[in-house]
Amino acid sequence: MAFKADPGPARLEDIRGKVAIVGIGEAAHSAASGRSPDDMAFQAIDAALRDAGLKPEQVDGLMVTGSTAGQLTADRFRAHYGLDHEIWTSGKGGAFSWAATAPHEAYAAIATGQASVILNVFAINWASQQAADAGGPATAHLAEEMKANAEVVFGFIPQPVYFAHVARRHFELYGTRPEQLGAIAVNSRRHANGHPGAVMREKVLTLEQYSAREPFIDPLRIEDCCLISDGAGAYIMTSAERAGDFPKPPVIVEGVGYGGAIEGMHFAMEPEFASTPHRFSAPGAFAMAGLSPADVDVLAVYDPFTIVALMAIEDLGFCPKGDAGQFVEGDRLAFDRGRSNGGLPFNTHGGMLSHSYLLGINHVVELVRQLRGEAANQVRNAEVAVYGGYSGVDAGTLIMRRG
């Protein structure tokens, strides 16, 4: 990500109860497939429009991740559907932390009359790119001049190496153990096994199998790292006042928070090395929503590595800092244990570890399904859902409620 966030928590305007999510859609997710990002984006958009009962000409706002190459433009949207109307656009959407903060940005456009039906979409073909040696998640890091001269030359690249150091530091500070990271990997895989569309749907993973694997970037095993996928996801936002005009039960945005890492892309220099910027983004989101982590029925967290998921659980406030290792053991994170039984249903689609590497957009899609009661691994009576978005350099928190 060639992107620099302001360090620390952002002050966001209160948008509690102002924005509704009224449509969701996904493309088929896969390993390297040769499909183009636009082809997959339009597959996800078509599904989202059907879901919301909307026609392409009714979309007058488009949000994408501006810093990720190959994302959809208003021109290509119009060309694809044979339209010529004006479309408000923003590059502060799509996936990562912006899949969390897009509703905040969207509300500014809705409130000022610039747009009324806003499509947030993200498509990625990093699996195909990596297979062709043409790019992938390490590209931006390799290109950064300081890293090239002070890190890459020593072998400190790419992300699995960074997060192996973070995991080791967490182990040393808090006594966290590899099997506790394994509990997250195993839980995510179990959820993927029960989820149509999950890339790892057919592949079982037990804690015994996890432990038997030799760490390839010690202390991380392959199973601690997310997939690399081709795919796309989309969701459609509108004013909460109009939420009743759509076929599916609406989901209302209750809180949004955002915060940046102190040292940006220089993870090795981050003062709180074994923490994430979720610690900056979460408090504002919960304050806006008037809720606390105890009120949350289902959580989805951007999970590039098990250690990032583990730290996010702490930094979002679901357990004290340093305690997440013990917290995630056993079936605590299973969709069918539930908050009333001391559980925390977590990444119920399998996350980036086992569903697909869609950089968070389909975490939000999954949570909307949970709040509608139409999820594959349905959490009973799910009313409040939280997405913890992340990009390495920043974090966004999105709190949603069944409308």
Partner: protein, 152 residues
């Protein structure tokens, strides 16, 4: 399998930390430090974060430090690094300022003996030490003869 590419190398002439690499070739470990207040400017921003002085110089250090975190890289996902595997990637903190971190590689250490706070010291060696010669001298680190656990 295609032959592995050469190791990635620093820019000794115009890179942002060329003075560090030139110092290493002379057997010195230098980092940028504020002349006015002594705070380290690492990674270099060109202005002291403590006192905002622009008077910063690459100062010679003891080359001692403590292990902060590490990873045993058995498989290189960045293909040009493949000749180095297996290797110990490490972040150390320097003895002069225990919050200033330096990314490096540990050499002549066993994975099982490592712990946070382990005293380490610089060893100037070829960047491709024990793997492939690059002709570039790098500040790599190894354990010291003294034992103990530094607060890191």
């Amino acid at each position: 399998m295609p032959e592995a590419s050469p190791l990635p190398l620093p820019d000794l002439e115009h890179g942002p930390i060329a003075p560090l690499w030139r110092a290493a070739s002379q057997g010195e470990f230098r980092l940028p430090r504020c002349i006015s207040c002594g705070a380290f400017d690492w990674y270099p921003k060109g202005e002291c974060a403590q006192c905002h002085s622009l008077d910063i110089d690459w100062c010679k250090l003891s080359g001692r430090g403590s292990l902060f975190s590490w990873a045993i890289v058995r498989r290189a996902l960045h293909r040009p690094l493949a000749p180095l595997t297996p290797y110990i990637s490490a972040i150390i903190v320097i003895a002069e300022d225990r919050v200033t971190r330096f990314v490096t590689r540990l050499i002549d250490c066993e994975p099982a003996e490592l712990y946070a706070g382990m005293p380490v010291e610089v060893r100037f060696a070829d960047l491709g030490y024990q793997a492939t010669a690059t002709g570039i001298i790098a500040p790599l680190f190894t354990k010291t003869d003294t034992t103990g656990r530094d607060e890191v």
